[in-house]
């Protein structure tokens, strides 16, 4: 082995562990590909259930991502920039849904927003809004579990951003909004994109909170993961095909983002520190 090559090599044990990790992620996917019923794949894909579920999944996961950005960026900014008592507790609270078993999250959403819930009973009484068993309920469930991924990513970027850049803008007469729009936002854009993609991926794969809070009805609340789960009961072949569709969509998105944004996020962080 040449000296030149050895320079870029990891120590052998690290390499073995890394290789095992790759195999750990790759093997289940290879397993799915291996058992996939290729001859019937097209029939399953053009099946009404699959098309409807995929369309609904795309719509709801994009809505959840938009909501995560709209509320998550200000939240990340609050956590990163404003020093207030109990900030640690607020952060922990906002990230809790990442570790909560999703089904428990769904039940907790009932207690908050269900028709007998803390707030939900007034939504129903005053505005006639009920979220359970609706497409809006799916978006709420997905946002609940997805937004923390955006918040931690953006907060980390904001913390690593040199505050003097924002100070300079303000001393030069830039308003708070102008500074945020023209200085802060461009600097954290890579992290924002990475966070949004993570949130979107989490929303797309969301299962437990959705099936608990929003139920399962084709066209309104049956997203792709729900369709996969149910077809596993009677038609495992169809479930495999549907799962592969989800995996392919997600894989292509993550692949396209690989260097452009995840790389840029790392670079931005390095430059800022």
């Amino acid at each position: 082995m040449s000296r030149r090559r050895r320079r870029v090599e990891l120590p052998i044990p690290a390499l073995l562990l890394a290789g095992t990790a790759v195999a750990f992620f790759a093997l289940p996917l290879v397993g799915l590909l291996w058992r996939a019923p290729w001859s019937n794949a097209w029939a399953y894909l053009t099946d009404d259930t699959a098309v409807t579920a995929l369309r609904l999944s795309m719509l709801t996961s994009l809505c959840a991502t938009a909501l995560s950005i709209a509320f998550g960026v200000p939240l990340a900014w609050l956590l990163a920039r404003v020093d207030f008592p109990g900030r640690g507790a607020v952060r922990a609270l906002c990230l809790l849904s990442m570790v909560l078993p999703p089904v428990v999250g769904g039940v907790a959403l009932f207690f908050a927003l269900g028709r007998r819930g803390l707030v939900g009973q007034y939504l129903d009484e005053w505005f006639g809004i009920t979220l359970p068993f609706t497409t809006a309920g799916v978006v709420v469930a997905q946002t609940f579990v997805a937004m923390p991924f955006l918040v931690i990513t953006v907060e980390a970027a904001l913390r690593q951003l040199d505050p003097r850049l924002e100070d300079a803008s303000r001393t030069l007469g830039g308003s708070g909004w102008y500074t945020f729009r023209r200085v802060t936002l461009p600097a954290i854009r890579p992290a924002l994109t990475a966070g949004a993609v993570l949130a979107w991926a989490r929303a797309l794969g969301e299962f437990g909170a959705t099936i608990t809070f929003a139920g399962n009805f084709p066209g309104t609340t049956q997203t792709m993961p729900l369709a996969v789960y149910l077809s596993l009961e009677t038609n495992p072949e169809e479930a495999i095909v549907l799962a592969l569709v989800m995996i392919t969509v997600s894989f292509l998105v993550l692949l396209a983002l690989r260097d452009r944004w995840f790389g840029a996020a790392t670079r931005a962080a390095t430059v800022a520190t």
Binding site: V107, F110, G114, R115, R116, P132, F133, I211, T212, A214, G215, N216, F217, P218, T221, Q222, L226, Y229, L230, S231, E233, T234
Partner: protein, 249 residues
């Protein structure tokens, strides 16, 4: 220190891997039973062990199809009790049953409503009201197929708000007050206690789920397995099953 660690590790391996089944005449059976039998079979098992000192009964409760698959993969079961005839038929077809399946219990479907029935639902026709939130199991699972069959038998047109993944999810929607009515099993209604009420369905539209039981071909203790099956089908077993809402043939 190292020797101690080794001894501990070795004993862990041994204790995890050992087959501590009795080798003598003492009965030692492992029962694979449908999840809906959990409470009733646990009680029957306790009664069996009390009546046969030294006997040991272990349970593995899960979905009927999952259990059948486990037995097919070589899991050590002496007895298999399924919540439907279809999974049992597959097991028998695969040559994994040593006895003919016998139906030992039935479970009727029932309408589940909120405690004290605030919506005044008295028969299946009331479910057609569009203002009611009705949920049922997905057609992919047995309780969903039964619900659809019952509604068709009654000639009632109901659009459920949700096709839940399993019967427990339907029960939860009712006990949380998020749905007004659902179709589940009679045993599920009884198990909720005061948290929900049931509306009985007339026999001419109702569907009975049948629970068959067999001794497996691979049973290491076929005599003990037969003794347990007899206990389930005997008077004491039937009383226990009925106390949980099952019907007995």
């Amino acid at each position: 220190m190292r020797a101690v660690a080794f001894a501990v590790a070795a004993s862990l391996v041994v204790s995890c891997g050992s087959d501590d089944r009795a080798t003598g005449d003492a009965v030692d059976v492992t029962v694979f039973a449908a999840a809906s039998l959990t409470a009733a079979f646990t009680e029957i098992g306790d009664a069996f062990m009390a009546a046969n000192p030294g006997a040991e009964v272990r349970f593995n409760f899960a979905g009927s199809s999952e259990l059948a698959a486990q037995i097919g993969e070589g899991a050590p079961a002496d007895v298999y009790a399924s919540a439907d005839v279809a999974n049992m038929a597959e097991l028998v077809a695969a040559g994994a049953a040593a006895t003919d399946p016998v139906v030992f219990a039935t479970n009727a479907a029932a309408i589940i409503v909120e405690s004290d029935n605030p919506e005044g639902i008295n028969d299946v026709g009331d479910l057609a009201d569009d203002d009611l939130v009705v949920v049922q199991c997905a057609l992919e699972v047995p309780c969903g197929a039964y619900a659809t069959e019952i509604l068709a038998n009654a000639g009632v047109d109901v659009t459920p708000k949700s096709y839940e993944a399993n019967v427990n999810a339907v029960v939860t929607k009712i006990t949380l007050g998020e749905a007004d009515a659902g179709i589940v099993y009679r045993t599920d209604v009884l198990a909720t206690g005061d948290a929900a009420d049931g509306v009985v369905l007339p026999d001419d539209i109702n569907v009975l789920a049948e629970y068959p039981i067999v001794v497996t071909e691979s049973s290491p203790d076929p005599a003990g397995a037969r003794a347990f099956v007899e206990a389930v089908r005997g008077a004491a077993g039937r009383d226990i099953l009925e106390s949980y809402g099952f019907g007995t043939p």
